[in-house]
């Protein structure tokens, strides 16, 4: 219970900081809007396949941009301060939860904007929201971890995309497959296995991320 309260206060702290400097939200939102508009202008007729693939590609770049800053803004002195009072597990869990909420919100906004400009390709909205939930959790875990890595490697932002992109591919491919199944373009007979696989990968990565972060944090 004590842990939960600490984690929640950390999440709240991140949220307050980001809300105070609203430019972060605004820039990401603008990024989404611009991407969708470019896609909308580039393709006259958006087919189901293009819709789904475009959605995920935009989402991946948006979430890289969103999560990129999670360890960036911390100066070394504030880091020292956090280090002296916090448990690394709380820090990483709070970051993952905060980024997860952020990415999930972004994915919903992206979906609404794309639907506004074109159409909604999905048969079952509930299932799509579930896919988004799993996928954005995976995105948040991988990108948070890579962002922590790149921070201890000297805050190199190219490093983040180089390391993050290949690692995200299994989660991304599974999500794309699941969303294709939801558009009735193909019959998916292994819906449950795919979902459980996605959850399994997420849990595995979360576990390792929590384990390794304490090592990175100590240094």
């Amino acid at each position: 219970m004590q842990d939960l309260i600490k984690i929640w206060s950390l999440v709240k702290k991140d949220l307050t900081v980001d809300l105070r400097e609203i430019y972060a939200f605004a820039s990401v939102f603008l990024f989404v809007l611009t991407c969708v508009f470019i896609v909308f202008k580039a393709f006259d007729q958006i087919s189901l396949q293009i819709w789904v693939v475009t959605y995920w590609i935009i989402l991946i770049f948006v979430s890289i941009n969103a999560v990129l800053k999670s360890f960036k803004d911390e100066s070394s002195s504030s880091r020292m301060y956090f280090y002296s009072i916090l448990n690394p597990l709380h820090v990483i869990v709070a970051k993952i939860i905060y980024n997860f909420i952020f990415v999930y919100t972004l994915s919903l906004i992206l979906w609404i904007i794309l639907v506004f400009f074109s159409f909604n390709p999905f048969e079952s909205i509930g299932q799509f929201l579930l896919i988004l939930l799993c996928a954005s959790f995976g995105f948040s875990v991988v990108f948070t971890f890579v962002s922590a890595l790149s921070q201890s490697g000297g805050n190199n932002s190219t490093l983040l995309s180089i390391l993050g992109m290949p690692l995200i591919i299994p989660i991304l491919l599974l999500s794309i497959k699941l969303s294709f199944a939801n558009t009735a373009m193909l019959d998916d007979t292994s819906l449950v296995t795919d979902f459980s696989l996605l959850v399994g990968i997420n849990l595995l990565l979360t576990g390792i991320c929590m384990l390794l972060f304490s090592i990175l944090w100590k240094a």
Binding site: F145, S152, M165, L197, I201, L204, L212, A219
Partner: protein
């Protein structure tokens, strides 16, 4: 262990053995081409057959059957030898198939007295307009496949499509096995580094991982050449191939990561953490995901594996030593790399003093 040399000799010996035996052992004779591939019941049917690795002279030594399931067989009526590897075989197909379905698929069996018998699975499609199962079954069970001659020499089995490229199994598959073993040892050293913070273990871990990356690239190239032969293209859009490409990308990112950080301790810590994370992401990528999708690549899903059907004992006698040999070779290369880096390290320290 790293300074002892017996295992290096063993690795070199095994690889020489694999190259000599794996490339020089002849293949058993087999059916290369069989045309046409369909006919109707009740007709006399003549097939042109091109065989591989055969030396036909006397047609009285030759027998050929069409086989349906395990119980029905039909002996050929005439066999004419055109060249040492070319036959014209005539079958009098009975009026009815031993089955109610419109089409049955028959296997071809050819036997010559001095050579090993050969089988072409699913050679001929026989269609029928109406069915008389009893009459068909009677007509198809007049002859038995018996007294097949077997060649007990040390030979590899002939498989349709892969043919001589089958030998690539000893290189492509074993190099991938060796890569995984090297990666796992590298991961163990990465954990060791994270626990002890001794830079020596970082050198061990990174060297092993780098050699594994090179092995992965070689394994992919050998696989590409095999794909060119069997599928006609160097690369096809197939889940197994794509996933292995992604795996390679992840590890190339590892290499970029190490190059991009100059501080030694930071580099060691970050790359050890990344390699652990990458290996965890690799397991679903290579071992779980492809098995759930249809694939042209052998292994679970899609094609049958190189397992009980295709890998016979003669090939195992080369395949298993190949795995051990390539693993030892990889360890040898990485041990040289490790020793070089340790020397370089001490030289740099000496120079800075």
């Amino acid at each position: 262990m790293i300074r002892q040399s017996w295992w290096k000799y063993l690795g070199a010996l095994l690889i020489i053995y694999v190259i000599i035996v794996g490339l020089l052992t002849p293949m058993k004779p087999g059916v290369y081409e069989f045309t046409p591939i369909n006919t109707k019941a009740g007709k006399s049917f003549t097939a042109d057959i091109i065989t591989y690795n055969t030396h036909y002279k006397d047609s009285s030594q030759l027998r050929a059957w069409l086989k349906i399931d395990t119980s029905y067989a039909l002996l050929s009526s005439t066999i004419e030898i055109q060249e040492v590897n070319k036959l014209k075989v005539t079958f009098d197909i009975p009026n009815y198939n031993p089955s109610t379905s419109d089409v049955v698929i028959a296997d071809l069996v050819i036997d010559e007295k001095d050579e090993h018998f050969m089988v072409l699975p699913q050679a001929l499609y026989i269609t029928q307009d109406s069915s008389q199962v009893d009459e068909g079954a009677l007509a198809w069970s007049l002859s038995n496949i018996e007294n097949l001659s077997e060649n007990t020499d040390f030979t590899f089995p002939f498989r349709w499509i892969t043919e001589e490229s089958m030998r690539n199994l000893f290189f492509h598959v074993s190099i991938w096995f060796a890569m995984f073993i090297l990666l796992i040892i590298g991961i163990i050293y990465a954990i060791k580094y994270l626990l002890s913070k001794d830079l020596k273990w970082d050198i061990y871990s990174s060297s092993l991982t780098h050699v594994a990356i090179v092995f992965g690239i070689i394994g992919m190239l050998t696989g590409s050449f095999w794909a060119k032969f069997a599928w006609g293209q160097f690369w096809i859009n197939d889940p197994k191939l794509n996933m292995s490409a992604v795996a390679l990308l992840i590890y190339l990112a590892y290499w970029v990561l190490r190059v991009s950080i100059t501080d030694q301790d930071v580099r060691a810590r970050v790359s050890a953490a990344y390699s652990l994370f990458a290996f965890a992401a690799l397991i679903p990528l290579v071992f779980v995901l492809p098995r759930m999708m249809d694939s042209m690549h052998p292994g679970n899903g899609g094609n049958p594996a190189f397992g009980k059907d295709d890998l016979d004992n003669t090939m195992r006698m080369v395949f298993y030593p190949a795995i051990i040999g390539f693993t030892l070779l990889g360890l040898w290369i990485s041990s040289l790399y490790i020793r070089f880096q340790l020397l370089w390290e001490s030289y740099m320290i000496k120079r800075s003093n």
